[in-house]
């Protein structure tokens, strides 16, 4: 009898789920998001005398409180959307591009360089045109380098692209020391080569990256390239067997990826900041990874996830004010907790738990 007990089925075991209804996916994600936010609310309450209601109220107020805040929310959402679109094709190919920050930053840097050197000498329209090509080229180049070595020598791309981020940051500080003679390390906004407003000053990225999202959706879904990307992502051996040139696909896709990241840099430099510092990319290379991955690589769902991520970070600025936290670190904690909640729920989408049945039930069967 005792021996039998030792061989008992484990109390709970994990079983892979094959297909899960969309309804359930949405349900799981909603629970995760609400749970994560509630948890963050409680954490904020711990360190302050304000209540849970204040937390959610300020969260919404920070994101939607005024016209300007709302437009900013939309603008930042679409910028993040742009960054995510840059990362998406690479990720779909299972190329772990952690270098989004660097690619955006070099795009930004090239645009600013054009503004700095050509400003006042050439017509603004021409500067903007040159800026556009320079940014796209720089971003593409920054992505091409790791892609080339991945394709030829199978060099680990996640570490390579990570290092490229730091080199991009280094280049930015290098050029700032060259440009800013006073040694203050802060580049004043450049008046030349600013992209003119269309409608209002927030509208350009909104229109541009919404369009790119739609095009990307079609590209990945209905073009031959999109098909090749997903085959390479599923299995490189299958891709080789079908006759896809894997090297070519990796390099081509990464160039596209980097070019879009460069475009984000172009908009940041030309339309929004008109200046640059080492954190100009606003960490979008990493938040973009989150947005892409949480949306399970679906361009249309990325719209929702990037909106949500921007909403939290915007809302948290207000929460910080209401709860009188002296530093901005609390928003990192909250974002981290919400990420945890959402990442964990991916487990429940891919797997399910099977509990041990009582012996009696088994006998009945």
């Amino acid at each position: 009898m005792k021996k039998k007990n030792n061989l008992k089925e484990p109390f709970v075991r994990i079983v892979k789920r094959d297909n899960i209804k969309v309804k359930n996916i949405i349900l799981i994600y909603s629970i995760a998001v609400i749970g994560g936010l509630l948890l963050s609310g409680f954490i904020s309450m711990l360190f302050s005398d304000k209540g849970l209601f204040d937390f959610f109220q300020s969260l919404f107020e920070g994101a939607f409180g005024s016209d300007r805040k709302f437009w900013l929310l939309l603008q930042d959402t679409t910028l993040l959307l742009g960054a995510s679109m840059a990362l998406l094709p690479a990720f779909k190919m299972k190329f772990w591009n952690l270098g989004g920050n660097g690619q955006i930053l070099v795009g930004c840097l090239s645009a600013i360089a054009c503004m700095f050197y050509l400003g006042g000498k050439v017509d603004d329209g021409i500067i903007i045109l040159i800026m556009f090509f320079a940014s796209v080229f720089a971003g593409a180049l920054w992505a091409f380098i790791p892609a080339f070595f991945k394709a030829k020598f199978n060099t680990n791309e996640s570490l390579f692209t990570l290092m490229m981020n730091y080199i991009a940051q280094g280049l930015v500080s290098l050029f700032i020391t060259i440009w800013v003679k006073s040694g203050s390390g802060v580049l004043a906004p450049i008046q030349y080569g600013n992209i003119p407003d269309i409608g209002n000053k927030y509208l350009l990225p909104i229109i541009m990256f919404s369009l790119i999202t739609i095009v990307m959706h079609i590209y990945l879904r209905s073009s031959k390239h999109g098909y090749e990307i997903s085959v390479v992502g599923e299995s490189i051996n299958t891709a080789k067997y079908v006759g896809i040139k894997v090297d070519k696909v990796i390099i081509r896709t990464m160039i596209l990826s980097g070019a879009i990241a460069g475009l984000v840099g172009f908009v940041l430099a030309g339309s929004i900041n008109h200046t640059i510092n080492t954190s100009s990319a606003n960490n979008m290379g990493f938040t973009g990874i989150m947005a892409t991955w949480l949306a399970n690589f679906n361009p249309l769902i990325i719209i929702i996830t990037s909106f949500f991520i921007t909403f939290i970070s915007k809302g948290m600025t207000q929460v910080r004010k209401t709860f009188m936290f002296t530093n901005d670190s609390i928003s990192n904690i909250v974002v981290g907790v919400v990420y945890f909640a959402v990442i964990i729920c991916s487990f429940f989408i891919n797997y399910r738990l099977v509990f041990r049945k009582k012996e009696k039930e088994e006998i009945k069967k």
Binding site: V15, L98, F153, L159, L162, M163, S331, V337, F340, I344
Partner: protein, 322 residues
């Protein structure tokens, strides 16, 4: 000048060495832990928190004993880093979440938590005194100079880091536990078939690895900068550099000792040599990353088996999946 430079290079190298050895241990079982920067941050705040608790329990701060300061910082750093690493471990081992994403989330969270606790809950008023006590070296080396100073003039942590790196190297290459660890990293399914308890090994490796990484930050704050605190971003940057260092040292803890001092020298050169221009300094700061990339490319081009990353690095293991 040269002495200060070498001393600083070794000190910065020690910060990186802790992070690098910790990350190597987790990578050996096939887990690419991008949360190491965050874990180093929480380790820092853990160590600092316990030191401040100890200091506040004393009547006179000057009477703080060296051994208690070392123990409380070690314990606090290990505990906090382990807890943060524990989140990563549960999410990637048991729940099989994507390692890259989880790691990035850990880094965001760890950075925020550290910044927050450091500002609001850690009493840093007596840290400069505690820092001086912790940084104490052997008595004969204290007033010496030249090579003796460079070799023996450091605080406890520097030698502790070397000891950990050598011990890890020994365990990896000379013991059955190490063999099993490496087997898991190369081919988890094979190790499973061998009868190795995958889950237990992975948990212990990640927890211990995280704990070790946590020492790096507390050493930097208490020993190198003697208790001053700017922000978590400094520690986070060390964390990313440590991850680079793992590649540079081709996953060998013994190599990582020399490699981390080299990185430390490159990192500190930008600050120590005052006579170079600002732009020259920026170029120097980029060097460690450029060199890492070159090593990364070189090792992949040579395609030598013993220089490759663990084969199942970044892949989660689910036994029922083939």
């Amino acid at each position: 000048m040269t002495i200060t430079f070498l001393m600083s290079a070794i000190a910065i190298g020690t910060v990186l060495l802790f992070g690098c050895v910790g990350e190597t241990i987790t990578e050996k079982v096939g887990h690419l832990n991008l949360g190491i920067p965050g874990i180093m941050c929480t380790g820092t705040v853990g160590g600092c928190l316990f030191i401040s608790l100890y200091l506040n329990s004393l009547e006179k701060v000057e009477s703080a004993s060296w051994i208690m300061l070392i123990l409380s910082s070690l314990f606090g750093a290990f505990l906090f880093a382990c807890l943060t690493g524990g989140i990563y471990a549960v999410m990637t081992i048991t729940l099989r979440c994507n390692q890259n994403i989880t790691g990035l989330a850990i880094t965001t969270f760890g950075n925020g938590l550290t910044q927050f606790l450091m500002h609001s809950y850690v009493d840093r008023s007596n840290f400069s005194i505690a820092g001086k006590i912790i940084a104490k070296s052997l008595p004969f080396a204290e007033n010496s100079n030249g090579i003796v100073k460079v070799l023996f003039g450091h605080g406890f942590y520097v030698y502790f880091a070397i000891a950990i790196a050598l011990l890890t190297n020994f365990i990896f290459n000379r013991t059955r536990v190490g063999l099993n660890l490496r087997a898991i990293g190369e081919s988890t399914a094979t190790a499973d078939a061998m009868g190795v308890n995958i889950t237990r090994y992975k948990y212990i490796a990640i927890l211990v690895g995280s704990g070790i990484a946590g020492f790096g930050g507390v050493f930097y704050i208490m020993d190198y900068v003697k208790g001053s605190w700017e922000n978590a971003a400094t520690i986070e940057a060390f964390g990313w550099l440590s991850i680079a260092l793992v590649i540079f040292s081709i996953w060998k803890p013994s190599v990582s000792i020399i490699a981390s001092y080299l990185f430390g020298a490159l990192y500190i050169a930008a600050f120590v040599f005052g006579n170079i221009s600002f732009s020259g300094r920026e170029v120097l700061k980029m060097l460690p990353y450029v060199i890492t990339i070159i090593v990364l490319i070189a090792t992949s081009m040579m395609n030598k088996r013993e220089h490759q990353p663990p084969a199942s690095l970044g892949l989660n293991y689910f036994r029922e999946e083939r």
